[in-house]
Symmetry: C2
Subunit: 325 residues, 2 copies
């Protein structure tokens, strides 16, 4: 199979730090979980050598600019950096606008950086599946640090956040009141809390964050880590050094405390379940019922011949009747 | 079964417009897709009599205040209104902060309104599953209009947006540049585009939106609807009348053009697939592998005895060997 030869060649090139091979493999993995399985036969799966950092913030907080600055500093420290930018994209066209790429054009010319935008849609088998797989490829390429950038608001984003070993949450002054800070679940997500655009203020947000932390004794008791609040200015670079230092502190903390091992075990478990779900769902929606049958069922339900629940039940019954006792 | 008697009683009370029964049934449905199936045996599933409106906007655009104003106007027009507020909540504690509830306290005293916040986590079987089921309950209660409020950024939010027959996208001036407007996929989602906090400006956003629309001939060609851009002020109520009028215009458009029927068919199909996926997942995690087996497999993978993909493969093989030929 010519296809397979090509993939083996791409994997070899990937391990030799060929950026084009990395780009191609990511595209393949995004679109086909089937071929992904073949690719990953020759790649380590445990995300041991790359350290994954999640960066979360609403649109408008200056996330992309800050991510660019963080990446730059890490590269100055000799690290090879990969960025996965998860875009809340068009639900219909499936495309992301890739604004981050536009903003970081200068940065992407750096040979130590590889950046990839990932659209919420147009990814087969789910966003967290694709993000995980891209992390594996980036690690195999030799990335030391993988930055995953998300808006962090949805359920799938939460699954992505759980992949990260250190999570940075970014807010900006004037983007909503105290209720929104609490709604965002910052206390639970953030290992490091950043107030960006600090030229616009933010002392009140920091004070409130620290007050919330003081109340949340159980939280710090659980992990042994008290998240710090750092003020940055993505444009001038103010506060970035402090942020990077705190990142390394947190990395050391999760490594020494055993939290990292637990995170990686959870990640393994979730990935196993994802892979199984994908196969069983594929079996039901192609092997067990086909597109036409499903379409006919939808028509019948629409015409009130039976209910949605009865329709689904009949397929589920068919599924279980196919299983041996 | 006493439990079942109680549920039948609750469903009867629901149909007699008992708010407490509605609240209890929503809680049951949120937490148990199993009992949901029993509840929905006696409830119509096709969301024909209630009209569903999606309201999407980033934190800080004044979404909750505007939703409150819209609900108030609709009730003044004699409509019974239900609000489902989907909160990007804490991924760990599972709780939402329910800021919207705090902001809308006066409103919730109105007997024509029922409002419910839904946390991203803590919902069994997915957020869009729960939102759909709550819509069914609200319809059975006799709601004419259901407003679903989301931040609209994540994959699950996109699934929720697809439930709505009319989608309103809200932005506010000064919350990010033109790139972010395009990233949000506004053109594809918005049936009505709202620039809130119009006292802070917004003419430039409206101009840009209209320019984007002019470029997107294919879009308006597909649906026959050109989204309008409306400026509102949630605090003073400016522009709300115009917004409501445009909502009714769009409702008429989707009804007459056949788009509503297509949307409802898609909704039926997605619900069938959701119900099947839920059963499959349950089967995998209890029928196919048990917690201990999975834990052992994770340990072995962590200790590099075999890979994640090999582990998953062995369970998938076990699954297919269970299927009758």
């Amino acid at each position: 199979m010519a296809q397979l030869d090509k993939i083996e060649e791409l994997v070899t090139r990937l391990k030799n730090k060929d950026k084009i091979a990395l780009a191609r493999l990511i595209s393949i993995v995004e679109n086909s979980p089937e071929i992904a399985k073949i690719i990953f036969k020759n790649i380590d799966h445990l995300l041991k050598s790359a350290y994954i950092i999640g960066i979360t913030g609403s649109p408008g907080v200056g996330k992309s600019t800050l991510v660019g600055k963080i990446a730059k500093k890490l590269m100055d420290q000799g690290k090879s950096v990969g960025i996965i930018s998860v875009d809340p994209s068009s639900p219909y066209s499936g495309g992301a606008f890739l604004g981050d790429r536009i903003r970081m054009t200068n940065l992407t010319m750096n040979p130590k950086l590889y950046m990839r935008s990932l659209a919420s849609r147009g990814v087969t088998g789910g966003l967290s599946r694709a993000t995980f797989d891209i992390c594996l490829l980036m690690e195999a390429f030799g990335k030391d640090i993988i930055l995953i950038e998300t808006v962090g608001a949805g359920q799938s984003e939460v699954d992505i956040i759980k992949l990260a070993y250190t999570n940075i949450v970014i807010v900006a002054p004037g983007m909503g009141d105290s209720i929104q800070i609490q709604k965002a679940g910052i206390l639970e997500i953030a290992d490091i809390f950043v107030v960006n655009k600090c030229d616009l203020g933010g002392d009140d947000i920091i004070a409130q964050f620290n007050m919330m932390l003081d109340d949340a004794i159980t939280y710090s008791g659980l992990t042994g880590w008290r998240p710090s609040a750092i003020q940055t200015n993505g444009l001038t670079g103010e506060g970035i050094d402090e942020l990077i230092e705190e990142m390394w502190n947190h990395k050391e903390h999760v490594e020494l405390s055993g939290i990292l091992d637990e995170k990686r075990k959870t990640m393994i478990k979730n990935k196993i379940i994802d892979l199984i779900k994908y196969e069983v769902e594929k079996y039901i929606l192609s092997g067990l019922v086909n597109e036409n049958e499903l379409k006919e069922m939808v028509s019948n339900i629409f015409n009130e011949e039976f209910s949605i629940f009865e329709g689904a039940e009949s397929i589920i019954e068919k599924f279980f009747s196919k299983l041996k006792k």
